[in-house]
């Protein structure tokens, strides 16, 4: 099955590794016997919005987690802005999947956003009025200012996702990595999140999103990275997001009708 998919994939453009906000080489991650991600190269384009796309269980989230050192890869190198990750952590913000945490945790919305400032504050640095003002500003950008004092469990799924995004904004990073930010959120939240991500791009930041909705790829993103354990394709949407690459990423799992629809949408 894996052998049918080209190992090299379709790589439309290669960047100098030193330029790339996130460059991955030969990354292999395994949970138990079966590799979740196998020998993947990825070079994220600076200042662009990139979608990581692939079927369920294709290793999209794992790729992101391994790139960030949350899971330990079997092999491979990761550079962030041309440097090892540990020296660049202040420039990277990560938004985990909403379902990965217990929202019953005793904390308020504002406290979660303030977690984004913890690198700046250090172990015992005092929380000052300007830190709180910054956190409130981040909540404002995602339309959650009025919810600052709520317990996080009292929020809807979409509101929780926006709080996570506000925490990432508080980190004031240059590279934003989001794991399925649109999963199970309402339409208003999806619009709010995409507006914030586009404003980040306009400010020159790089945004990488694990995404599952093929219908919105062309609207939201400039670049795609298709993965099914191995890399399938990488490049600008117009070149790498095609019926052929989708077919090889999803195989039989994507109905022909869906591919036709996407092909038509792509013109």
């Amino acid at each position: 099955m894996l052998g049918l998919i080209s190992n090299e994939g379709v790589t439309v453009q290669e960047h100098n590794l030193d330029d790339s906000p996130l460059a991955v080489r030969g990354l292999t991650v395994s949970y138990g016997q079966k590799p979740a991600v196998f020998s993947v190269d990825m070079t994220v384009t600076p200042g662009a919005m990139t979608a990581i796309i692939g079927p369920n269980g294709a290793g999209k989230s794992t790729l992101l987690k391994a790139a960030l050192g949350i899971v330990t890869p079997l092999s491979g190198q990761v550079t962030v802005f041309g440097q090892p990750l540990n020296s660049q952590r202040a420039r990277v913000a990560y938004v985990p999947q909403r379902a990965s945490v217990d929202w019953d945790f005793p904390t308020r919305v504002i406290d979660v956003v303030l977690m984004g400032l913890s690198r700046e504050l250090g172990l015992l640095g005092r929380l000052r009025a300007r830190h709180k003002a910054r956190a409130m500003d981040c909540l404002n950008r995602v339309g959650m200012r009025d919810f600052a004092d709520r317990q996080i469990g009292q929020l809807s799924g979409g509101q929780q996702q926006r709080v996570f995004l506000a925490r990432a904004l508080a980190q004031d990073a240059d590279l934003y990595l989001l794991d399925e930010p649109f999963a199970g959120v309402d339409a208003a939240t999806e619009k709010a999140i995409i507006a914030v991500l586009k404003s980040l791009k306009e400010a020159g930041k790089t945004v990488v999103v694990v995404h599952h909705d093929l219908a919105t790829v062309t609207d939201y993103f400039d670049h795609v990275f298709l993965i099914n354990t191995r890399k399938v394709a990488e490049g600008p949407v117009a070149e790498a997001f095609t019926a052929e690459t989708l077919q090889s990423a999803y195989g039989g799992r994507l109905a022909t009708a869906q591919i036709d629809q996407i092909s038509r949408a792509l013109g």
């Binding site: 949970y31 913000a93 990965s100 977690m115």
Partner: protein
């Protein structure tokens, strides 16, 4: 009650009970939120082989080697539990179950294989202290608190548990932010450079040290209760971790003081002749407070259920 009676007979057990309760409740807050609260129960079982080994090495029943043996066994156990949990990617409860039954069984076997016929190695006696016996015979009243000679006669359990409480408090204060962030969202914590594996280990080792020091002074029943009851009750009184920690300390102190007083005088008030175990009564009080919090606490419903579907 006058100072002449209170200071020698009740002051030190009250202080020791209170210190032990707080020292266990503080790390208990994080353990409960991490669903690792049963680690207190686990530690009370795994110390057995440590005590037996310490006895075999020294050939004597003395407090320090046995405490070190118990602490060593507890630390070994929490390291094993963490290792099994992470490597096997299984629930913490399952990892604890495997480790503490195995180590307890090994302790029983060791005890059986060694020649203890000449020496009475009673684990309950050697390590599991008795709160009522920790009296301060050198004291004659409140003035003894300023009398160096009388202070030298303080039960050694008091400085030990007080020092442990200072250590536990320092750990909680110093690592407050990383502990909170990694308990809530471990993945995010790792991306901002918090060494979550190391911190999680430090938390359970801190809990193990608190547990062993408290066993020595007040017995295992309080330890198991204090890791769980005050934090769990406090969680139902507030939706903020900062306030939860504060409430858990208040509840731990309340349990220790009311439990001690009720154990000593409750049966007399009810017309019975003898006092009951203070440790048992303190644990019972913490359970009662937990029950009250579960029935009337303002934050007792799980509000986040819609996300777990």
């Amino acid at each position: 009650m006058s100072g002449e009676e209170f200071v020698p007979l009740s002051l030190t057990p009250l202080l020791i009970g209170t210190c032990a309760a707080i020292a266990c409740a503080l790390p208990g807050n994080f353990l409960v939120l991490r669903k690792q609260a049963l680690i207190g129960d686990a530690i009370s079982h795994v110390v057995l082989p440590g005590i037996v080994v310490a006895f075999l090495l020294t050939g004597a029943i003395s407090t320090w080697p046995m405490m070190l043996g118990a602490a060593g066994a507890a630390v070994l156990a929490v390291v094993l539990i963490e290792a099994i949990r992470r490597l096997g990617q299984i629930e913490p409860g399952a990892a604890m179950g495997v480790v503490f039954t195995t180590m307890f069984a090994a302790g029983v076997l060791l005890l059986e294989q060694t020649d203890t016929s000449t020496v009475h190695l009673d684990v309950e006696h050697a390590l599991y202290g008795n709160l009522e016996s920790l009296i301060w015979l050198d004291a004659t009243g409140w003035s003894s608190l300023l009398d160096a000679q009388a202070l030298a006669g303080l039960p050694p359990e008091l400085p030990r548990i007080a020092l442990t409480l200072v250590g536990v408090t320092l750990f909680t204060w110093l690592f407050w932010r990383p502990l909170k962030i990694s308990t809530f969202d471990e993945g995010f914590a790792r991306t901002i450079g918090i060494r979550t594996g190391f911190l999680g280990m430090a938390l359970v080792i801190t809990a193990a040290i608190a547990a062993v020091a408290a066993f020595d002074a007040v017995g295992s029943i309080i330890v198991i209760a204090m890791f769980i009851c005050p934090p769990a009750a406090a969680r139902m009184l507030t939706n903020r971790l900062e306030a939860q920690i504060g409430w858990s300390v208040v509840i731990a102190i309340t349990s220790a003081v009311t439990g001690y007083v009720l154990a000593g005088y409750g049966p007399l008030w009810l017309g019975a002749a003898d006092a009951v175990s203070a440790a048992g009564m303190i644990a019972t009080m913490s359970g009662l407070i937990l029950a009250l919090a579960a029935m009337f606490g303002p934050c007792r419903t799980r509000v986040g259920v819609q996300t777990s579907a």
